[in-house]
Structures are given as C-alpha cells and as structure tokens.
Symmetry: C2
Subunit: 395 residues, 2 copies
Amino acid sequence: MSDDERTARAALSRLFEPQDAAALALVQAAGAQDALRIACGQLAAGPELEREITEILEESGSGSSWSGLAGALQRWAPRIPDLAPERDLATMRRLGGRIIIPSDELWPRQLADLGLQEPVCLWWRGVEQELPPAAKAIALVGSRDSTSYGASVTGDLAYSLAQRGFTVVSGGAYGIDAHAHRAALAGGTGALPTIAVMAGGVDRFYPAGNEDLLRAVADHGAVLAEVPPGSAPTRYRFLQRNRLIAALASVTVVVEARWRSGALNTAHHAESLGRAVGAVPGSIHSANSAGCHRLLREGGAVCVTDATEIAELASPSGEALPPDKAGRTQVHDGLTLEDLILLDALPLRTTSSVEKLAVVGGLSVESVRAGLGRLGLLGLAESRHGGWKRSGKAT
Amino acid sequence: MSDDERTARAALSRLFEPQDAAALALVQAAGAQDALRIACGQLAAGPELEREITEILEESGSGSSWSGLAGALQRWAPRIPDLAPERDLATMRRLGGRIIIPSDELWPRQLADLGLQEPVCLWWRGVEQELPPAAKAIALVGSRDSTSYGASVTGDLAYSLAQRGFTVVSGGAYGIDAHAHRAALAGGTGALPTIAVMAGGVDRFYPAGNEDLLRAVADHGAVLAEVPPGSAPTRYRFLQRNRLIAALASVTVVVEARWRSGALNTAHHAESLGRAVGAVPGSIHSANSAGCHRLLREGGAVCVTDATEIAELASPSGEALPPDKAGRTQVHDGLTLEDLILLDALPLRTTSSVEKLAVVGGLSVESVRAGLGRLGLLGLAESRHGGWKRSGKAT
C-alpha cells in the first residue's frame, strides 16, 4: 500500500502544476490514490467530495478561483497520456535518487507549515540521509547577476554557516545561489552541508554551467524538486519552488537582489510562513543591493552582516547570541558625568591645580578632589609636583 | 526686563555645564534672574524652593544624582569670578551674532521637546533670520574619518535635501559633518540651507581645518552653540551638543559610523525624543558602516538610501511619498496564474498547437484558448500558420 501511495504521488506530481490548490485539496479530501483515479476519470467524485474540496479551499483562502471539479478535470486531462510514474521512479533509482512522500520517516517535517501548499512528494537526487530540521537550515538566496561584493559575502556566510553545522539551502542558479552551494560544500564538516531546490526535474542539472557544482551538491548534499524528472524549469515553477526554499529553512537571507528579484519572492514566502528574513546591506549605489534595502525598509527583514547574526535568527532563544562586537572598551566607559567632565578638563602635557580644574570643569573644589582620587585609581589621572594631568592610559 | 533676562541667561550659560539638571531645575523654579542671584550667593534659597527643585528633578527622572542645593552651589562657585555676560554679548555683536532665549520670537519651538534639558539660551553666529521648524530640518551626522563612499553619499543627500528646501543640521566636524554642510550650501536654493551646532563657543571656528567652511555656514546659514564664546569643545560638551542636533531636526540620519561613534549618540537622542532615525547601509566589510548596521539591527532606525526616503520620514503623512522605484513594469505583472503558466509554455521561435500547449502547461484546451486570447490582446502571444508563439514584447 505504501508503494501504491508512492506511485500515485509520483503520478500526481506530473499531472498537477505545483501549488494547484484544487488538486491539493482533492488529495487532502480523497487521499492520493483516489485523487489520481478521480483525476484520470477512473473514479467519479460525488457531490459530497466536491463539497469537502470547496470547504478545504475556503479554509485555506484559495476558494475564490475554484469553479468546481469539472473545470479542474478539464485542466488535468491533457497530461493523462503522459503519466508514467514507474518510469519516473526507475529514472530516479538509476540516478541514485528516490522519491519521498509526507508519510516517510525522511520527509522534512517543517514542510507541513505550508498547509495545503505542502508538495505531494519530493524527487531527491543524492545520498539517502537525514534532512535537517528547519532550525539547522538557512536559506541564502540572491540575484543571478551577483557582483564581486555579493560573491564574497555569500562565500563568507555560507562557509561559516556550514562550519557551524548548518545546512545552506539555495536554488542552484548562477550567481548568489552557486556561491552559496560552493562555499557550503567547502565549509561543511559533517552531515549534509547544502541543499539545492530545483524548479525543474532533478534528472537534469540546470543551468548547464552549474552542472559540475550541482553534481557535487548531489554527491555531498541533496538536490530536490517537487516536479518529476524531465520537467522544464518554467518561470511559474521558479516562483513555486521558492516557497520550498523558504519552508525548508528557519531563516531566509537575501544577500544581493535587485529592486525586483525572485529572491524577494522567496523572502515574502518566508515572511508569510512566519520564518525569519535577513537582508545583507550594501552600497546604496549598487542596484544589486536595492532589493535588500527594500526588504529592510518595507519588510520585516533584519539587517545581517555576519554568520553569527544569522545563526542568532535561527535560534532566537539566545543559544547563539553573538559576542559583543565592541572590541576593547573605552577608558572613559562607565565614568560618572562629573568624572567625565573632570577628565576632559585635565591637561595632557602640563599640569593643572585643583582650583583651576574646578573653574574649567564647572565643579566644586571638593568634587574635583574626590574625582581626581577616582580617576587616579583607574590610572586615568596622575599628580606631578602638586598639579594634576591625564595619565598615558587616558589619552 | 527682557534684556535683564537675556543677560542673566548669558551668564548662566557660562556658570553651568550643558544639561546640569540641578541648574536647569533651579532656573525653572526661580526664573533665570533669581537663579543667577542664588547661584552667585546674592540671594538665599529657602527650603520651599529647594523642595520645588527636588520635585522638578524627580518628575524629569534626574532626581537620583541630586543631593541638595548646597552641593550644587559649591559646584558653581569656582566659575563666578569668570562671569562677564555683557562682554560675551558684546563679543557676539562684534562677530555679527546674537543670543536667543526661549521667550524670543526666533527661538526654535522644537527645542521644548527636550523638557528640562532645553538649553537656557543659544549663541548664534550668522545672519538673523527665521530658523526652520523641525519638519523642515534634517540632521545628517557621521564619523570624522569618513570614507569616499560616505563622502559621496553625504554630498548627494545633503545637496538634494537642500534643493528641496530642507535645512541640513550637523555638527561642523571633519568627515560626514563637513560634507553635509558643504553640499547643503551648494544645493541651497532659498532660506537657511544648513545649521552647524557646535560643542564649543561660536567665536572660534573649530576644528581649524573647517574654518572657511564654518565661515560660509555662518554667512549663509547659522552656527549655534549653547555654551558662551570662549568655551572649549570638551568631550562632555560634544555629547550634550548632540541632543541639540537631534532636537532641532525631525529626522536624524546616520550616514557612516563605526560600531562606537558619537553619531550613534545623536541617533539615540533622536529616538528618545520620538524623532525618526534613518541609517544609510553600506558594505558589511566597511568598519565605517558597522554603526549604521547596528542601528538598523538594534534600534528603530529606518534604512534610507536617497533623499526622497529621508523626506518621507520628515512628513510621514505622505506628502512626500516617493515615486515607485519599480521603473518599467514587467510584462507578466498582473497576469493570472493560468496565463503566466501559459506564457511560460509558449515557445519563443517555433509555434505550438493549442493541444500541445494544454499538455505542456497542464491546462484544459478551453483554458488555453481563452488564455491565448487574453495574451494576444496584451501583445504577449501571436498566432502564425495556425500555431502560437510568444510575441516580441513578451520575450
């Protein structure tokens, strides 16, 4: 039965476009196997089922575009002759891959946060191993036409995140995606350093220029897609794919993006899932940072400048709190206002009398005496021949 | 009487350090003239007045450091012999300047937002003219050791803000401050393009390297300080001066700042006054942008990348709403999901049949026909010899 379920879902992933709400509601209402039979006209759907689908769609907020099962069946019909799930499963086995479905042990639990939009299955090329929970996965995304700044920042972040045991999730594209996968592979210390979520079938490594990189990702990480082998990466599928990247990770970081960019789409998916979104700032003269700045202005994106700040977003409980960047503290930190005024009044080279310091600082003679005592103890003031000056430490 | 009030405040500004809470409470309770007499020991303060001062300090949250008038009198005593308000006023007249006090027509009303910390007077070098209300004043602040990026950004912002009729407020220092004043002077079209608020007396243009610039600010804008002529710009006074910059403007923008920087102090003053704070993003590799990124992460700072976004913060009612940066819209904006899928399915060079498009797109033949009609009307699809392809506009 589990094999029948698997085969049915393999077929459904070819029959339906990703995120076809009516289709997903049908699967939820009837189960995958009956959904397939209904979609293929081998089983009739009664008014009861149709009502149930309508309810599911209304609950998930997708009811408005629903005009009944008849229209949906017409939409699905042209692809029925192409269905060959056994062939697709065999292709995956031959490539050293597999399909996973929500009832599998290996299914990433965090995808359930997508609700009705959870994919019916995932086609997976790479070694069978545990996929990371959301808390251990960070999405790094950005433009294809990355600058040298974006490349260098992505490399630093991905390497450092992989070193800390995070899995870097990205989309396998040129530019920021490629830099993210490459550096994660280099930095990975143990389990699954990186996941590429593809918009087309995982039988083909697309784009061609990333073939070697994606092969390495499959060898050491995972290459995933919700569409079956042989599917073309259409623009629509790129947009749908982005929700999977956002859902797999606890944090989505946009490293470089233009004012309009698919990476912003991924960030919006993350936001609507209640996941953290980070944006890397850059020069305001760089069009490739305009999208990041837009997220910082308009969205709930957090400004992130290093891997520690990103790790912090992944575990907001404070486990990964960054060390204070302050570096060395300043000598005058923590002084009272009066002592700060007194320190300002103390000459650097010559010395000054207590009375003179009182005039310059606007302090009583008594306060000056007491303050000089405190500053002396801190090594900030010293007396010479009855006068006072700043000591070396305070200059 | 108004002249006596003016002379008294001139004297008080030399007697008290900026933001001496006890002194400011004394002025509030007794008035400037009696406050001066009490501070100089010419008038006794009864227990009634002392109680009143205590109450004012407690209300303003400054009560904790207050140990009674006796201690304050001791603090003020050393400077009494130095008081020469008539001389200071004469100095200002000779320099073409003046003193203004809260009862003056010209007093910037927005300083009242400082509450007890409103200065007792302002020493003003420059042409007598109306000072801008907060809504027309923007503070641009940042590091002294600015980078070429900071210089160029500050120049662009200040020039553009001055062109729009805003007054650019800054601190007259090297680096970002100087770039802000200089570009505002260049961009100013009418009234008062820029104000420099100094930490020391306005009789001296400090730092020396900015002498010509500050002279130009005095000639075309205003140079202000709360401390009297001859006062040295101590570190304490720099920090106090920052509250005046923040209070004069409706928006404080930090263009470049290190992790620790006086500019962040100005930003915190602005925040605590409920004023808007903007931060300009920059390279995460630049230490001079680390303070800006810190504000974006920790503070309530808004990411700003041009003068329009800053102007928007100054009038959040929407008068200065920026035009949509989107530039040209994308041809596929606003398409339904089905039409987007169909557009993806349409070949670029060859043509495709309606039936083929239904299979590729996963759409019913009917939907494909209707969708091709819509895309055709939009100029995104065209038919050739009975088949369909994308039209030039959609590629």
